[in-house]
């Protein structure tokens, strides 16, 4: 059975939507962060599919850049989360509520 590019794009969209839903629903900062990573990887899938359909390499190059950037984000993001966790012993975004008004 041959699977057309539409199926990959649909999968990518579904993964992206799952990521968005996770960011909006989940309260644990680590899980929220993982959902964002899921969104980025969903986009990578789209890039590679489009690279295939367009017959150019740009999409694959982009996917590599996204992976590098995602790795950098992990470093910074986990650094911030660890700093907060040390002070609070909790990573729930609901506990972080000094700033409001």
């Amino acid at each position: 059975m041959r699977v057309g590019p539409g199926a990959y794009l649909l999968l990518s969209a579904i993964l992206f939507a799952i990521g968005v839903a996770g960011v909006l629903i989940r309260r644990n900062a680590i899980v929220v962060f993982m959902c964002i990573e899921l969104m980025l990887n969903a986009v990578n899938l789209s890039f590679i599919t489009f690279a295939k359909t367009n017959g150019s390499l740009d999409g694959q190059v982009l996917a590599f850049f996204v992976m590098v950037v995602a790795a950098a984000e992990v470093v910074v993001g986990l650094g911030i989360l660890v700093a907060i966790f040390r002070k609070r012993s909790s990573t729930s975004v609901d506990d972080v509520n000094l700033l409001k008004g």
Partner: protein, 506 residues
């Protein structure tokens, strides 16, 4: 000779590296790396030394920008475009960077206390600026994404640079929402790439005129790009992070974010929407105009009820993003929209940085309102400021009146220019909404002046600590105030420069 051997002797077709085109960016990168090494290997270097090095890097970048002033080309196979927006944004961003360096150099410690912001903030500032300058020059969506991440990652760390809980909380919120919005932007890039077959803005501009392109896919991509950009420039309904982040981060960083990210964000917003996607203006203008209405009104209305000056400035920056969106909405059809937005960014950057500088000055006057938040920025702290610190209060008045748009201060011309562009583009209704928002915003800017000038100081003024010596902050405040007044009295040269920035893409 054998054809294959002939082929191997030929050099590989590498893209031409146009060093001169990105010379200012390179200077910033080099300065950033040098500072990082200095911080790592000479831990006892004073803040003055670090600030001096940072300023030297900025000066080098500025000199290279001037050297490149008349250079007009598309470099790196269309990835970087040296056009009017690029050089105007470069100049503004470097000036903002210099002011921010002075604010950071002053630090947030009071007399006799150790400074708790680490020296790494200087290289981070340079890297953030590098990202911003590159963002303003980007003419390929890939470069847009990379530049955006360079500046965002630096800013996430800068936001949480101090050990105060509020700063870390702000950093976390900024990081999570920033990464979230980056993902939307990236998906938008992917869909645009899928629909047009390229990430280059010039090629996308050509493809949007092509009826065979996949319209639905392209529109979905444009929508997601809009969401991403609206997040970055903190437009309603994607503005929720702004007040928390501005209030929580150290004041110099908040000032830098408020001024510089807006400049870079709107520069790329203009190039992508008014430039590359100009052919689809009928589709996206209602969205941008709607966001402008919401941003202006919601920002102004929520600013009215704030009791903390930093939070109020955050909401005010949201409503200013709304006026800028009027410029973006106009820009696709009238070139004045581009120059009006660029001029607005210039004046706004100095006004808002000046306002934050006064906040920084006042927060040195006593213990923080709340240990966790760690800063003294409640409106109560400004009661009777005019009697105690007439110069600070006078400058505060200049910045507040300029933000309100009272002539002949710089903010007035900026607002006027945007209104003019809006009317020219046939968006008179939008300009009327902007006028209403301006009147609402007069309430809260005036309230600051009411508190500072018209109310008596509370408590014992003698209990206040002296602000200490503030040479760097003093220079920065003087410059911001001078620019705000001088641009108001003689705007001609800068408007002419903004006019020359109307040329986008190529």
């Amino acid at each position: 000779m054998h054809p294959l051997a002939q082929a191997t002797t030929q050099p590989l077709p590498l893209p031409e590296v146009d060093w001169r085109a990105i010379a200012p960016e390179l200077a910033l990168a080099v300065a950033g790396v040098v500072l990082l090494l200095v911080v790592a290997f000479w831990p006892r270097a004073g803040r003055g030394v670090l600030a001096g090095l940072t300023l030297a890097g900025l000066a080098a970048a500025a000199a290279l920008t001037v050297w490149n002033w008349d250079l007009e080309r598309v470099a790196f196979e269309g990835a970087v475009s040296l056009d009017g927006i690029t050089r105007y944004a470069r100049a503004v961003l470097l000036a903002v960077g210099a002011l921010a360096t002075l604010m950071v150099a002053q630090g947030d410690s009071r007399e006799g206390e150790p400074d708790d912001s680490p020296p790494e903030v200087f290289p981070l500032l340079l890297f953030a600026l590098l990202g911003m300058v590159l963002l303003a020059a980007a003419s390929d969506l890939l470069v847009v994404f990379i530049a955006l991440e360079i500046l965002s990652l630096s800013l996430y760390v800068m936001a949480g640079e101090t050990r105060r809980l509020a700063a870390q909380e702000a950093a976390m919120k900024y990081f999570l929402l920033g990464a979230f919005s980056s993902a939307f932007l990236l998906y938008g890039i992917a869909l645009c790439y899928g629909a047009t077959g390229s990430t280059n803005l010039l090629e996308i501009a050509d493809a949007t005129g092509d009826p065979t392109a996949d319209g639905t896919l392209l529109l979905a991509g444009v929508g997601l790009l809009a969401v991403g950009f609206l997040f970055k420039v903190s437009a309603v309904p994607f503005h929720m992070w702004t007040p928390d982040v501005y209030q929580g981060t150290p004041t110099p960083v908040a000032a830098f974010m408020a001024a510089a990210t807006k400049v870079a964000g709107f520069a790329v917003f203009l190039r992508v929407f008014a430039g590359a996607l100009g052919g689809l203006v009928v589709s996206w203008r209602p969205v941008i105009a709607g966001a402008a209405v919401l941003t202006m009104l919601v920002g102004a209305a929520l600013a009215v009820v704030q009791t903390d000056l930093k939070r109020m400035l955050a909401y005010s920056s949201i409503s200013h993003a709304g006026y800028l969106l009027v410029g973006v909405a106009a820009a696709a059809t009238v070139p004045a929209g581009v120059s009006a937005s660029m001029f607005y960014l210039l004046t706004y950057a100095f006004m808002v940085m000046g306002a934050f500088m006064v906040v920084q000055y006042v927060s040195r006057l006593g213990p923080p309102d709340d240990d966790a938040i760690g800063e003294r920025s409640s409106l109560e702290d400004y009661r009777g400021l005019a009697r105690r610190h007439p110069w600070a209060a006078g400058l505060l008045a200049v910045f507040m009146l300029a933000l309100t748009g009272i002539p002949p201060l710089s903010g007035f011309w900026a607002k006027y220019y945007v209104f003019l562009a809006g009317i020219e583009a046939g968006l008179t209704w939008l300009v009327v909404v902007a006028v209403i928002s301006s009147v609402i915003s007069a309430f809260f800017y005036l309230r600051v002046l009411v508190v500072a000038y018209l109310q008596e100081p509370v408590g014992d003024p003698g209990a206040e600590t002296a602000p200490g010596r503030t040479p760097a902050l003093g220079v920065a405040l003087g410059l911001a105030g001078l620019l705000t007044v001088a641009i108001g009295l003689a705007p001609e040269a800068l408007i002419a420069a903004a006019r020359s920035a109307e040329r986008i893409l190529g």
